[in-house]
């Protein structure tokens, strides 16, 4: 590959037209990243492409630029359709399109679930150039919105294809493939090449160019990875200790389940950390709300489930904490991929308890490298113990309260609720409400 020989190709030398080079410059893309440098020459030729690249490598721009350039050459409505696995990712992709394409007057819309069908139908009938969607809602529109079709689509992109297929979008994608013309350009991006992805590739791509940027399971060099070995019952205290150590920097704490994420974020808040939860049980609006609060920096600790591990472009995450060890190495890669992006340095800490040793060893095996131990001052942790326990107790009560509010009092919440217990609880709730502050109250009120 000639382009690879070149040390520092510029966008212009890759064949990107002037207007778009300018837009890249404005958007802060100085030099093409590896994937961009490799994808762009083929994409601009009009080839189908399979890109295997990790998140954060700049692949959104790698497909956005050729699409915009093609659109400029031959403007038409419904030029390209980009499918993404999550709503957040779809919104981010459309933001990239707007950033790069505003100079040439591109109109992109986002068609994702959880939003009003009617206003989407109206937006669609205004004939935008680019549709960024989740497959489910798009098929909905193809079936139910009269007067909307994609018979003239020129370009299809499947972003994070492995994830799309993991989320059982397979049949929906098949439907969409049936509704669009066979003569088109197709890009398929995936973090990993699974058998399902290979099947999808055979079904949708013609004579594709395969571009692989880095090895399957590898992490960026600038990422400092640690593990911390700790007893299971001290997990919370260790978390607080670590967060104290890194105070002031932004962090994502990954938990395995939604309830765990909620519980941790409540504990953190009770202790005065600006934490917000992000998980699958939140409504679309609140997910976006959480994300934007985090992005703008008013809260710098995000407690998330694997929902946030991929595809979300959150700038400036300094530390990733794996509160629970991820269940497979793929997830680990995605999680730690949230930091040390775009050449910056970052740190990841994985909590390993006595029960997680096997899982952890598997990850180390997949990474083919031994991680350093994160030094924790056990005395310091013990000193936090008491306060952490109090915070946990309050958090547990809040969760129970919340359940009662949701499902009514009938739920079995402890048959032996004696009078003085109630008094204690009421006081605790009052305190909790005080410390949690207005934000949480507002959310409750809305329900």
């Amino acid at each position: 590959m000639t382009e690879k020989a070149q040390d520092n190709p510029s966008f212009a030398s890759l064949g990107v037209m002037d207007q778009l080079c300018e837009a890249c410059d404005k958007a802060g893309f100085k030099n093409p990243t590896d994937i961009q440098a490799q994808v762009l020459p083929y994409a601009l030729e009009g080839k189908d492409i399979i890109g295997l690249a990790q998140t954060g490598s700049g692949k959104t721009a790698a497909f956005a630029l050729p699409i915009l350039q093609g659109l400029w050459k031959k403007p038409q409505p419904f030029y390209a359709c980009i499918m993404a696995p999550t709503r957040e990712l779809a919104i981010q992709i459309s933001e990239t399109f707007e950033k790069l394409g505003s100079g040439i007057g591109v109109r992109a819309i986002v068609i994702v679930g959880g939003m009003d069908m009617m206003s989407q139908s109206i937006a669609l009938s205004k004939k935008p150039h680019i549709i960024v969607c989740t497959p489910g809602r798009l098929t909905d529109h193809l079936e139910h919105t009269k007067g909307f079709d994609l018979k003239k689509l020129k370009c299809l992109v499947m972003d994070e294809a492995d994830r799309l297929l993991d989320m059982d979008f397979g049949p929906k994608i098949d439907n969409i493939l049936k509704a669009i013309p066979k003569e088109r350009t197709t890009y398929l991006f995936s973090a990993t090449m699974t058998t399902k992805v290979a099947k999808l590739q055979r079904a949708s791509l013609q004579d594709p160019v395969k571009i692989e940027v880095s090895d399957k399971y590898s992490t960026v060099d600038t990422l400092l990875q640690y593990y911390a070995f700790l007893p299971f019952k001290r997990k919370e205290s260790y978390l607080i200790y670590v967060l104290n150590e890194i105070a002031g920097r932004s962090a994502i704490v990954f938990a395995r389940t939604c309830t765990e994420a909620v519980r941790i974020s409540l504990i953190l808040r009770n202790l005065g950390f600006p934490a917000i939860p992000l998980h699958g049980q939140l409504s679309m609006d609140r997910r976006l709300g959480s994300l934007s609060k985090f992005k703008e920096g008013s809260r710098n600790i995000l407690v998330a489930t694997d929902v946030a591990s991929r595809g979300l472009d959150i700038p400036m995450v300094d530390v990733v904490i794996n509160y629970d060890v991820p269940s497979n190495s793929k997830d680990y890669i995605h999680r730690v991929g949230r930091t040390a992006r775009a050449g910056r340095s970052g740190k990841s800490i994985t909590f390993v308890t006595q029960y997680d040793i096997e899982l952890y060893q598997r990850i180390e095996f997949a990474l083919d490298k031994k991680l350093d131990e994160f030094k924790v001052d056990a005395e310091g942790v013990m000193m936090l113990q008491e306060r952490v326990h109090e915070a946990m107790r309050i958090a547990n009560m809040e969760i129970k309260e919340d359940e009662i509010r949701k499902f009514g009092r009938k739920r079995p919440h402890g048959s032996s609720s004696s009078a003085d217990k109630d008094v204690v609880r009421d006081k605790a709730i009052k305190d909790a409400v005080k410390s949690v502050g207005k934000d949480r109250m507002g959310k409750r009120g809305r329900r």
């Binding site: 400029w72 403007p75 591109v106 009003d116 009617m118 139910h144």
Partner: protein, 668 residues
């Protein structure tokens, strides 16, 4: 409304330095100030570099495809069949078809500019007069629908026989002529130099019309005019959509790309007619069916059954005045709504709302159908694509509850919440942008002008084609007072409109009532006429508190109370009788035993003024105590009451009465 308009376009084009903003989405442009408009225009120019402009260029330069290759036998017929047979080639005439220039999708391109002018309120006013419409005031926006107003006004006098030039569909013309035949004998084209023709010509330009010279005697002429216009509109709409559907189908068979055909709104209902009661609805729909003219009408029996009553069941007193009978004869229920659908062969009545072309409803029933704004059940979708709203008999509607009308007006042309099976590829672009309201034609007909109607004219008439207000200078009704009675008009000067009610009340209690009580002969047989119910309550509370010997009758009083009070007043057991205008409107009793009339405020219905005074002559003459010397008539008015005053004393006099140092005027 300012008559001074700046030449926006000129300013903009002279600006050589366009602002480099390239967003094609101009929805958020702020049109409040001229600077924003200028900015918008320069954006427009710049946009030529953007994708849309390039697309347009390409479409133009693309060679037209020839379809020689494929000729499917099956579709031969369809392909051979050219445009709708019903209509002649539209290029035959040189006149403008206002339907296309006003509602066509092409208007979307520059609509924002016009909307900016509407919102800015930069309408230019020009007034003309003629014998039929009296005073015609145009409010037009620069650039929109510019034609020569003088020419338009001159053309109003032409007879209504140039149907082709007016672009009325052949079918509609036939029916209309047919509908006129029985009444006029053989149809003569030139027999219509009248209100009907003039109104139609005005409405045909798709301007908003506020017509304030309605009378019960010209009511049917007005109705024929707006129905002809509405039907003509619907036929044009139907033919255009049918033709486009056909060419889209043809293009699909030939596999060519003819681009998009956008020719409709979100939902089907296009015309909304608001009427006060079932009797007017019956009359209007009958007339509509004659002009719409199909041989077959579905569910006509249901119309007759539900909207009329047998003459022998009609308990209206035929000796009451004509204007009362016009309103209250027949079925007077004020809760009804139904849809009418025009299909090719047959007219359907009582169709599902979403499947109707015309909605006929009372404001009350429409409001109930819509629901409360902000609530989940708020259902404005069926009004999303109304292109023409007709409000007839506004005087009656005001006697009912004007709030209902405003409620409905507020619900017009909002973005629908559901698709209702709408084909989005056919929806016009301005509709998608939620701007239908700026094209909707508002046609409002009333017996008299009120502040509420003026407010409506200002607030809801947002049509970019401009608006017309038809008024007249009033001769006054003073001369209709039979007896020679001194009529004293007293102006109560109010510092502001907000204080008008208080000032009037104060004058009434502090000066007028004590004066009347001062002399024994003026303290009995006093009828106090209070136009508004709120004032009525205030006056009643005051007089009850002060132990006046008085009876009070309002529109809410029951029949027994009314009879009791009237009788007591006639017998002199009650010295005062206080009534409201609504009571008089709905009941129209002849009130006997009056010796003095006090107008707390002047009536909106100007003919009530002489009517009440003439009651004195009527009743007292039968009693044999005909002594005009003993009768008085006092009317209060404020400097804000010009509209009512001019209808009573005449425009010229009224203008002098509301200003100046002199505040008491006597007519004999």
């Amino acid at each position: 409304m300012t008559s001074e308009t700046t030449d926006i376009t000129a300013v903009a084009s002279s600006q050589k330095n366009p602002i480099p903003t390239l967003s094609t989405n101009n929805d958020d442009a702020d049109f409040e100030d001229p600077e924003a408009i200028r900015l918008y225009i320069s954006k427009y120019a710049e946009n030529n570099a953007s994708l849309d402009a390039r697309l347009a260029e390409q479409l133009k330069s693309r060679p037209t495809q020839d379809s020689d290759g494929e000729n499917d036998d099956e579709d031969e017929a369809l392909l051979a069949k050219e445009a709708i047979a019903d209509e002649d080639d539209p290029t035959d005439y040189e006149t403008i078809d206002y339907y296309t220039t006003h509602f066509g999708d092409a208007v979307s391109d520059e609509l924002d500019l016009h909307i900016g002018r509407v919102n800015q309120g930069s309408a230019k006013a020009r007034t003309f007069t003629n014998d039929v419409l009296h005073r015609i005031t145009f409010h037009s926006y620069e650039g929109a629908n510019v034609d020569n107003l003088t020419e338009l006004v001159a053309s109003l006098n032409k007879p209504l026989d140039d149907f082709k030039a007016l672009r009325i569909k052949e079918k509609v013309k036939e029916h209309w002529v047919e509908a006129h035949r029985p009444k006029h004998g053989a149809f003569k084209g030139n027999s219509h130099i009248d209100l009907e023709a003039q109104l139609f010509r005005l409405m045909n330009t798709y301007r908003d019309v506020l017509f304030t010279n309605r009378l019960h005697s010209n009511a049917s002429q007005i109705r024929r005019a707006y129905l002809l216009h509405a039907v003509s509109h619907l036929y044009k709409h139907r033919d255009a959509t049918a033709e486009n559907a056909m060419s889209l189908r043809r293009a699909k068979l030939r596999r060519e790309d003819i681009g998009e055909k956008r020719d409709q709104g979100f939902t089907r209902p296009k015309v909304l007619i608001m009427l006060p009661a079932r009797n007017s609805a019956l009359e209007v729909v009958r007339m509509l069916l004659r002009i719409g003219g199909k041989d077959q009408v579905e569910k006509k029996a249901q119309l007759i059954g539900g909207f009329s009553i047998r003459p022998e069941d009609d308990r209206v007193d035929l000796s009451k005045p004509q204007d009362f009978l016009a309103n209250f004869r027949g079925h007077t229920d004020d809760y009804f709504r139904f849809g009418i659908k025009f299909s090719r062969q047959i007219d359907h009545l009582f169709t599902d709302f979403y499947d109707s072309d015309i909605l006929v409803a009372s404001p009350l029933a429409m409001r109930m159908a819509i629901g409360i704004p902000g609530s989940k059940a708020y259902e404005s979708d069926l009004l999303a694509s109304i292109e023409m709203v007709i409000v007839d008999q506004c005087d009656f509607l005001q006697m009912q509850n004007w709030e209902h009308v405003e409620h409905v007006m507020n619900a017009l042309n909002l973005m629908p919440k559901e698709a209702h099976d709408c084909d989005f590829s056919r929806v016009r672009r301005y509709a998608l942008d939620g701007k239908t309201r700026y094209l909707r034609q508002n046609l409002v007909f009333t017996d008299y002008l009120t502040p509420e109607l003026n407010a409506m004219y200002k607030k809801y008439f947002q049509n970019v084609a401009g608006k017309v207000r038809i008024t007249r200078s009033h001769p006054g009704v003073i001369t209709k007072v039979v007896a020679k009675i001194p009529q004293v008009f007293t102006r109560v000067d109010c510092p502001s409109l907000a204080q008008a009610d208080d000032t009037r009340f104060q004058y009434f209690t502090d000066t007028l009532l004590p004066n009347m009580m001062a002399a024994a002969w003026t303290a009995k047989g006093v009828l106090i006429f209070v136009p508004s119910y709120f004032d009525f309550v205030r006056v009643r509370n005051y007089m009850l508190k002060q132990n006046y010997s008085a009876g009070f009758i309002s529109e809410y009083s029951n029949r027994r109370d009314i009879t009791r009070h009237r009788l007591a007043f006639f017998r002199g057991q009650l010295s005062f009788l206080v009534i409201t205008e609504r009571f008089h409107f709905y009941r129209r009793y002849r009130i006997r035993g009056i010796q003095h009339v006090v107008y707390y405020g002047l009536p909106q219905h100007n003919h009530y003024y002489p009517e009440l005074i003439n009651f004195m002559a009527l009743t007292n003459a039968t009693k044999g105590a005909f002594d005009a010397e003993d009768w008085t008539c006092t009317a209060l008015f404020t400097n804000y009451d010009l509209q009512q005053l001019e209808r009573v004393v005449g425009t010229d006099v009224a203008k002098k009465m509301v200003v100046g140092a002199k505040s008491v005027f006597t007519f004999i």
